[in-house]
C-alpha cells in the first residue's frame, strides 16, 4: 500500500494508520451494502416469492425508474414531483426551525434566567413523537402547508437550541479574553470569535435536525396531503404496492444523505480540523 506524504508538522494529522483504516472502513461499508442487497434479492426471489410481501431490489428499482416519469396516482405527480414537494416542506420547516432554535440557543447561552425558563419546555417536547401533534395542528392551522411546516419546525427547534447553546458555552473564556486584548470590541468578539467558534457545533445540530425533519415527513403528509413522498408511501400502502413504498423510502434516504453531505461539506469548510 502506498502512503501519501504530508507536509504537516503535527504527528496527529494524516498519519499512515489513519488513512489506511479510513479506507478499510469505506471498503467494509460498501461490501456491507452489497451483501445486504444480495441477501434481500435471495430472500425475495427464493424464500418469500411474493412481490406484495417483499419485492426484490431489481423490481423495486424498476418501479422507481418507471414512476420517475409516470404520474402516481394517475392524476397526480411523478416521483420527482413528489420528491420536490417533500423537499420544499422539509427545507422550509428546517430553515424556520433552525432560525428560531439558534435564536433561542443564543439567548440560553447569554441569559441565565432565560435558560431556566425554556429548559423544561425543551426537555418536555424533545421526546414527544411528531405524530401526536397532527390532530391538534389540524384543529389550529387547518390542512394547508402551514401545519406541515410547523410540525417539522417543531422538531428542529429544541435540537438547534440545545446544540447552539452548547456550542456557545463551549467557547473558552480565555479565547474571548484573548480577542479583547488584541483590540476586539465586545460585539466583534461575540460575532467573530464566540459565534464563529460555535459554528461547527451548530452545524452538527443542523445535521441532526435534517435527519429529524425527514423522519417526520410521513407523519406530516398524513395531514390531508395530495402530494409528497410521505403521501406516496401512504397511498401505495393502501393499494399494497410494496415496491412503490420501497421506492419512496429509497428516495427519502437518498435526499437525506444528499443534504447531510452538503452540510458536512459546509462543516469541513468552516472547521479546518475536520479536513483530512
Amino acid at each position: 500500500m502506498t502512503t501519501v506524504p504530508t507536509s504537516q508538522a503535527s504527528p496527529s494529522a494524516g498519519t499512515r494508520d489513519g488513512l489506511s483504516s479510513s479506507v478499510r472502513h469505506w471498503l467494509i461499508s460498501i461490501a456491507s451494502i452489497g451483501l445486504s442487497l444480495i441477501v434481500w434479492h435471495v430472500v425475495a426471489t427464493s424464500i418469500v416469492r411474493d412481490p406484495v410481501l417483499l419485492p426484490g431490489p431489481l423490481a423495486t428499482v424498476g418501479v422507481l425508474i418507471r414512476y420517475l416519469h409516470t404520474p402516481y396516482p394517475a392524476d397526480g405527480d411523478t416521483l420527482i414531483g413528489h420528491a420536490l414537494v417533500s423537499m420544499a416542506r422539509v427545507l422550509a420547516g428546517f430553515a424556520a426551525g433552525s432560525v428560531i432554535g439558534i435564536a433561542i440557543g443564543a439567548l440560553m447561552a447569554g441569559i441565565r434566567g432565560f435558560r431556566a425558563m425554556v429548559d423544561p419546555f425543551i426537555e418536555i417536547t424533545r421526546p414527544l413523537p411528531p405524530l401526536a401533534f397532527v390532530p391538534v395542528l389540524i384543529v389550529w392551522f387547518g390542512i394547508g402547508e402551514a401545519p406541515k411546516i410547523i410540525l417539522i419546525a417543531a422538531g428542529v427547534v429544541p435540537v438547534m437550541a440545545i446544540s447552539t447553546a452548547a456550542g456557545l458555552d463551549g467557547v473558552s473564556k480565555d479565547m474571548l479574553n484573548c480577542a479583547r486584548c488584541l483590540g476586539a470590541s465586545e460585539a466583534y468578539a461575540m460575532l467573530h470569535v464566540r459565534i464563529r467558534a460555535a459554528m461547527p457545533q451548530i452545524i452538527t445540530g443542523m445535521r441532526l435536525s435534517v435527519g429529524l425533519s425527514w423522519t417526520s415527513i410521513v407523519a406530516v403528509e398524513m395531514i390531508a396531503a395530495t402530494a409528497g413522498l410521505g403521501f406516496v408511501i401512504l397511498q401505495a400502502g393502501q393499494f399494497l404496492n410494496t415496491s412503490l413504498i420501497f421506492s419512496g423510502i429509497l428516495i427519502i434516504a437518498a435526499l437525506g444523505l444528499a443534504i447531510d453531505a452538503a452540510l458536512r461539506r459546509l462543516q469541513r469548510h468552516l472547521d479546518p480540523t475536520m479536513r483530512p
Binding site: Q8, A9, S10, S12, A13, S172, D174, M175, N177, C178, A179, R180, C181, L182, G183, A184, S185, Y188, A189, H192, V193, R196, A197, M199, L270, D271, P272, T273
Partner: protein, 256 residues
C-alpha cells in the same frame, strides 16, 4: 522594525473578593506594584495566591473591588490592545491560518492596510514560522503554536505584555527554547513584561525583579532584584550565583 519602549504600569491598592458557593475568598488584598517602562517583572507564588487574578485585572478582564491600574499615568478600565495577554494555552483561533491569526488584531480594530500582510509575514518570520503562514493551528506543534501566539500579540505593538504561565504546559526542552526566545525578543523590543509563574528557576532566569506573593489574601510579601547580567544564556543556569539566587527565592516562597 523600530518599537517604542514599554509603558510604565502602576498597580494601586488593588483588592478583589470572589464569592463562590456562598463563600468569600479574599483573592487580593491591597496590592501595590510599580513597574518601570521596559522592565521585566515576575510574579512568583504558589497556585491560588491570586497572581493570575492580578494579571487579569491589569489586562482589564476582571474588575477589581478597589484600586486602579494605570498605564503611563492613564487609568484603565476594561481590556485594550495596549496590554496584550499570553495565556498558558496559545488560544489561537482554530478556524484561521497562522497568518490570519496574526492579522486578527488589525482586522478587529479595523486598522488593516495593504501593508499589513507583509507586516504579519515579517512577524511570523521573526518567530521562526516564516514558511508556516498557511498552516492551521492544529497542524502546528505545541511550541510553534506558542510562537504564533507571540506573533499575533506583537502585531499590535503592545506596550505591556502580560504572560500567565505561558510555558507551564510545555515540555522541558521546548520551554527552555521559548524562554530564550522571549528574552531575545524582550532585549530587542523592550516591552514591559509582567510574567506570572510558580517556577522559581524561570523567575530567576527571566526577570529584572521577582515579586513573591502569598495566598489568602493574595499580596506581595517580598521583592527581589535580580542582579544577574544580560543577555542570560544556558551557561548561567549552572553558575553558583544563579544557584544561590534560586535557593534564596525558594526560601522566600516557602516563608510566604
Amino acid at each position: 522594525m523600530k518599537q517604542e519602549t514599554g509603558a510604565r504600569v502602576e498597580i494601586r491598592s488593588i483588592s478583589k473578593v470572589f464569592r463562590r458557593a456562598k463563600q468569600l475568598t479574599q483573592a487580593l488584598s491591597s496590592v501595590d506594584l510599580s513597574v518601570g517602562p521596559g522592565e521585566f517583572i515576575c510574579l512568583l507564588g504558589p497556585s491560588g495566591c491570586g497572581k493570575s487574578t492580578l494579571l487579569h485585572i491589569v489586562a482589564g478582564f476582571i474588575v477589581p473591588d478597589a484600586g486602579e491600574v494605570r498605564v503611563d499615568g492613564v487609568a484603565k478600565a476594561g481590556p485594550g490592545a495596549d496590554r496584550c495577554m499570553l495565556f498558558q494555552s496559545p488560544t489561537l483561533f482554530p478556524w484561521l491560518t497562522a497568518l490570519d491569526n496574526v492579522l486578527f488584531g488589525l482586522r478587529a480594530q479595523g486598522t488593516i492596510t495593504s501593508d499589513s500582510r507583509r507586516q504579519a509575514e515579517e512577524l511570523l518570520e521573526l518567530v521562526g514560522l516564516g514558511t508556516f503562514g498557511n498552516h492551521y493551528p492544529h497542524q502546528l506543534s505545541g511550541g510553534m503554536r506558542h510562537r504564533a501566539a507571540f506573533a499575533r500579540a506583537l502585531i499590535n505593538r503592545p506596550r505591556v505584555l502580560l504572560m500567565d504561565e505561558p510555558f507551564a504546559a510545555l515540555d522541558a526542552i521546548t520551554r527552555e527554547s521559548m524562554q530564550n526566545f522571549l528574552l531575545e525578543l524582550w532585549e530587542r523590543e523592550r516591552t514591559t513584561i509582567l510574567f506570572v509563574t510558580h517556577d522559581v528557576e524561570e523567575a530567576a532566569l527571566l526577570s529584572d525583579r521577582v515579586c513573591v506573593m502569598s495566598g489568602r489574601p493574595g499580596r506581595i510579601v517580598a521583592t527581589e532584584e535580580i542582579a544577574l547580567g544580560r543577555p542570560r544564556d544556558e551557561v548561567l543556569r549552572d553558575t553558583t550565583e544563579f544557584v544561590a539566587l534560586r535557593r534564596k527565592l525558594r526560601e522566600r516562597l516557602a516563608a510566604a
